[in-house]
């Protein structure tokens, strides 16, 4: 356990935060590249997933893609694409986006699909257009699953980026790779702690966002595990429903 103390001391050693490629630099690099990849993945997968969930078409293909993606070893994909494109940021971003799309896609279509059909029919009967149904009914009700998908996506990207350090990328994984190469177990452990803390913090922030952003009606429904979650909301008067949607 003493090794953990040494690792913490290593992390809080001011010289490791000073000039040059320091912890803050690697942390920012890790966060920046992760954020970019998550954004690209969301931009591709969210509209696609919402379309699949809304129309019910292409579901089989989406399941197939996410099952294959789960089986693909990230290390192998990274090494093949880096050998193809050469060392640099591009192959890493391509791999991360490929791996980040399936969880986001799954979250998006599962979220839209989980919306009670009766609620959607009711919205249609009220005269809402398809776009209004998507924007005002399906997406707000799907938010818990949508953000769940975003959490899975962000974790996948942060973890895979740590592996990318083995292929000449900076980021927080660099301490693991250097620690292993130099048999410096304190640095190795410090790197593992830094990556773990980053993943837990990002996940915690998104979990908090999940709670804040979710419409109150959905949050109420979720606490009742026995009944269908959306029904409580659909039977309320329209004015009340809109008031709850902030």
């Amino acid at each position: 356990m003493n090794l953990f103390g040494d690792a913490l001391a290593w992390i809080f050693d001011p010289t490791h935060w000073a000039a040059g490629p320091d912890i803050s630099g690697h942390l920012l690099e890790h966060l920046g590249v992760s954020g970019l990849c998550v954004l690209i993945a969301v931009a591709i997968a969210l509209p696609l997933g919402v379309a699949i969930g809304h129309t019910g078409r292409g579901r089989g293909a989406a399941i197939l893609i996410s099952n294959i993606a789960r089986a693909l070893p990230t290390l192998g994909l990274l090494s093949i694409l880096i050998l193809l494109y050469g060392i640099g940021l591009l192959p890493i971003v391509v791999v991360l986006v490929i791996l980040a799309i399936p969880p986001m896609l799954a979250g998006a279509y599962a979220g839209i699909e989980s919306v009670d059909r009766q609620t959607i029919d009711a919205a249609r009967a009220l005269g809402m257009t398809e776009w209004q149904i998507i924007a005002r009914v399906e997406i707000p009700l799907a938010l818990p699953l949508l953000i769940g998908g975003l959490r899975a996506t962000a974790l996948q990207v942060i973890a895979t980026l740590a592996i990318a350090s083995a292929f000449a990328f900076g980021g927080l994984g660099i301490y693991l790779i250097n620690g292993l190469a130099q048999h410096d177990f304190v640095q190795l452990l410090a790197g593992a702690v830094l990556i773990t803390v980053l993943a837990l913090v990002v996940d915690g922030v998104l979990a908090a966002a999940q709670r804040v952003v979710v419409p109150r009606g959905v949050a109420l429904g979720r606490s009742d595990r026995n009944g269908p979650p959306q029904r409580a909301r659909a039977t309320r008067p329209r004015a009340l429903q809109e008031g709850m949607q902030s």
Binding site: G76, I80, G107, L155, A162, G179, L189, V193
Partner: protein, 229 residues
């Protein structure tokens, strides 16, 4: 593709496939066995459920390479010991399977359980004769997800020096030799497909009453997991 290299290295490829099998089969089996009592406890008590599922969620959040470095420190093993990889993969397997097992036991029809008690089954009899067999389809969906991701995550062990198929990926990079990476990739996918086939066949054989109905796909479980992660 350099077929000559493949031809002259069949021994190495076969050896690493065997190592990969030896490192991934125990975590899948142990994960299943451990998750059944844990999942049952979680399905029985709200307190146990929230503790087990949140611990599982936190463990699952730890990136694989970090876990591979943390495990030897906690267990006091040498960093090159292959048991580290087995332990890390088992942690992931249990973290995923506990939720799946809890869902499996919670989804059992209550009237069936009441009937079992009514005709005089003891608690243990009811568990082994009624609850466990009925939970198989959902447990199977969970363990299929676990087996596929275990086979793929195991390759990360190459970075901490644990030899298996993942070593082909790092070797390919250091030697600038794509053939090795492709051999590794194809082997990993074949192992994942083989495990999946074995599991789904076993599941079918164990649930003869369920054969005509469609078995729940792993995806159904995934949607669930994302929901309450």
């Amino acid at each position: 593709m350099n077929w000559v290299w493949i031809g002259s290295n069949l021994g190495l490829i076969g050896g690493r496939i065997l190592e990969h099998l030896a490192l991934t089969a125990p975590p899948i089996v142990i994960g299943l066995v451990l998750s059944i009592p844990l999942g049952y406890a979680a399905s029985r008590s709200k307190v146990a459920r929230s503790i087990l599922l949140s611990v599982g969620g936190i463990l699952y959040t730890i990136p694989s390479i970090a876990l591979l470095v943390l495990v030897p420190v906690v267990l006091g093993l040498a960093i090159l010991n292959p048991l580290n990889l087995v332990a890390a993969l088992t942690i992931y397997a249990v973290a995923i399977m506990v939720r799946s097992a809890a869902d499996a036991f919670e989804s059992l029809p209550k009237d069936v359980l009441a009937s079992a008690t009514a005709i005089g089954f003891s608690r243990w009899q009811r568990f082994f004769v009624v609850e466990l067999p009925l939970a198989i389809p959902v447990l199977l969906a969970g363990i299929r997800v676990v087996s596929v991701s275990t086979v793929s995550i195991a390759s990360v062990g190459a970075l901490t020096g644990i030899d298996q198929l993942g070593s082909f990926f790092t070797d390919a990079f250091y030697r600038y030799f794509p053939t090795e990476a492709i051999v590794g990739m194809v082997s990993v996918l074949l192992i994942a497909a083989a495990y999946d086939l074995i599991l789904s066949r076993t599941g079918r054989a164990l649930t003869p009453w369920n054969r005509r109905a469609a078995a729940p796909s792993p995806q159904m479980y995934e949607a669930d997991k994302v929901a309450s992660l």
